[in-house]
Symmetry: C2
Subunit: 368 residues, 2 copies
């Protein structure tokens, strides 16, 4: 029998693992939070991923456990390991994607380039950090944030007075002056093999990824080398298995600093479904099963991905498809909701301006 990958979480990342599982002839099972999830076609169980018994029961039918998100508690992950279940990424690695303070500490210890940062436990400590960094900074809750949630730009500790809880720390970082944001996505097998896609440019709006250009324009050479080295070092030192996305700042003074980590397929890698020989979703499945990794070359000189928010109204799909027959439209099967990531489109081609135009043109059909 072919091995089966078990995915905890039924969001669009789990959904996008289904096509490569079907194509490679692998089994895929999903533990979804609720009925009607984005990944419902592969949902074999519905339940609470914070409940060890639920997760252990789900794990009995699969060969490896992996994730749609990073929110599975450490005690549940360790219960899986104790029961002999293969878990990729494992809890020791995942910890650094779950806790931004631990991540900053670890990356600093490794000598990797990060923004200046501090652990602060009360407003006075935060104000002291701000005073030393031009009066401004970025405060982050160590856990639970995503897509800009749990992140606030502040100029005084009073801006996050609602976040201070006795005995808990916050992370504060310098407000980096950056030219643009980059992302280096790779995959690593338990046995050590690593494959990297080219570093991409990620354009954020309101703290959420809006567009990705692959490869990042003008990145060939030093920027690409640094991004690859940093991400490889993180993957190896933290023992990451599966896909790792390292979000980076390219600063105005030409440094490359690590912003965030994600240990799963990432929005900045969605372009690879259509734009690379091996998509990040196929590669993640290969990696967590410790199968040899696929080639990560680009299928086009340029790929541009544009996110679609809100919903993909069925009556607009034909308009987008007719207008842009070479653009690939991806829907996540979600109920429409303002601001929700509902899908994305990817265009590829030889002239970046043309590719950007076509991707945006297709996405524009779904805007309100």
């Amino acid at each position: 029998m072919s091995p089966t990958v078990g995915v905890i979480g039924g969001g669009q990342l789990a959904r996008m693992m289904v096509p490569p599982a079907v194509e490679l002839g692998l089994g895929i099972a999903v533990l979804a939070e609720s009925e009607g999830s984005s990944a419902s076609i592969a949902a074999t169980a519905v339940g609470d991923y914070r409940d060890a018994e639920t997760v252990l029961e789900f794990a009995r039918g699969v060969d490896v456990i992996t994730f749609d998100h990073e929110h599975v508690p450490q005690d549940v992950l360790r219960a899986l390991l104790a029961a002999g279940v293969a878990v990729h990424p494992g809890p020791d690695a995942l910890l650094y994607a779950q806790d931004k303070l631990l991540m900053r500490e670890r990356l600093s210890d490794l000598g990797l380039p990060v923004p200046e940062w501090a652990r602060v436990t009360d407003p006075a400590e935060l104000d002291a950090f701000l005073a030393g960094h031009g009066g401004r900074g970025v405060v982050k809750t160590p856990r639970g944030g995503y897509d800009g949630k749990g992140v606030r730009v502040v100029s005084a500790a009073s801006d996050v007075s609602d976040w201070f809880v006795a005995g808990e720390s916050l992370l504060v970082e310098e407000l980096v002056e950056f030219r643009r944001e980059l992302s280096q996505v790779l995959a690593r097998r338990p046995s050590g093999e690593i494959a990297l896609w080219p570093v991409v440019e990620s354009i954020q709006r309101d703290g959420v990824c809006a567009e990705v250009i692959a490869p990042a324009p003008g990145s060939a050479g030093r920027i690409a080398d640094v991004a690859a080295d940093v991400a490889t070092s993180i993957a190896e030192n933290l023992g990451v298995t599966g896909v790792l996305a390292v979000e980076l700042f390219e600063t105005t003074d030409d440094r490359v600093l690590v912003n965030e980590l994600a240990m799963r397929p990432h929005n900045s890698g969605h372009w690879s479904i259509d734009g690379s020989t091996t998509s990040q979703f196929e590669q993640h499945l290969r990696a967590v099963l410790d199968l040899p990794l696929g080639a990560t070359g680009c299928r086009d000189p340029w790929s541009v991905m544009v996110n679609v928010f809100g919903g993909l109204a069925p009556e607009r799909v034909p308009l987008a498809l007719a207008d842009q027959p070479a653009v690939k439209v991806h829907g996540y099967g979600k109920e429409p909701r303002p601001g929700r990531k509902a899908g994305h489109v990817t265009a590829g081609g030889e002239e970046l301006e043309d590719v950007v135009f076509r991707a945006r043109a297709a996405a524009a059909f779904f805007e309100d």
Copy 2:
């Protein structure tokens, strides 16, 4: 809500419709013959496709009915239409993929290039045809044949004495002297739009497709034009909706003759999953939903698909993936059985010899 495509039949063609349905955000449901089918991930019902009540019940939950195979009886198809169900391809078109005698008659009436043929109802008629065609011919049962079954090369009526049944006809055709076999695949929407992939070369072994080269070497120009014209004429005159594959002979005297028709995604189009901007499976879904068709350009100068027979032994998959990291491996999730189509591999690139080598190298790992 996004529309849902209902597929009758749970084989690998239904299975390969699942990835593009998931990617486009469409619903997909499959009426499978049995549990554990190749398309089981999308199977919402298991039952007999020859039973109108079973099929009507399945159709209640979907927006259009289409097919994994051409064996659904006409009376079942017409019961669907009578109940107001959209069926693509419809029974009036599908008839010509179900009955090779009717197909030959119709294509002859349309003046399309076909081998010389005759309807024969007894051994004397068959022997008379053979006598007029060099003493040899190809006899086909009009219905139920596939992958070389129901096809026999004969030099005397006694070679098919077991096939003659009182009151039933056989089809006999001249034994065409051909240089190679070609296949022209296209898709047509109910509203008339047609999109064609380039004509491909199909290499058969023992009457079964073994390899496909896309595009067919040396086909640019007259061969491509004739193949496209013939297939377009068939699609329009027969009212085909969805994917149509027209298998062709390129004769030693430079004619192009129609061999067989299939009104569904076809083995000769599998290369398009990895090798074209729009795969035949995505295009089939678009076409049967009457959505605008996608671009059909080639992603590589050459794509080569090689079928895998028997099975994809799990212990050999890592060997193939490690040896050929840029070759796409497709498994159909079937139990191994000698001679069974179990999967395929596709390679792409700029040098045909190299692409052929890599595709064959990957497939060779699965040979017994």
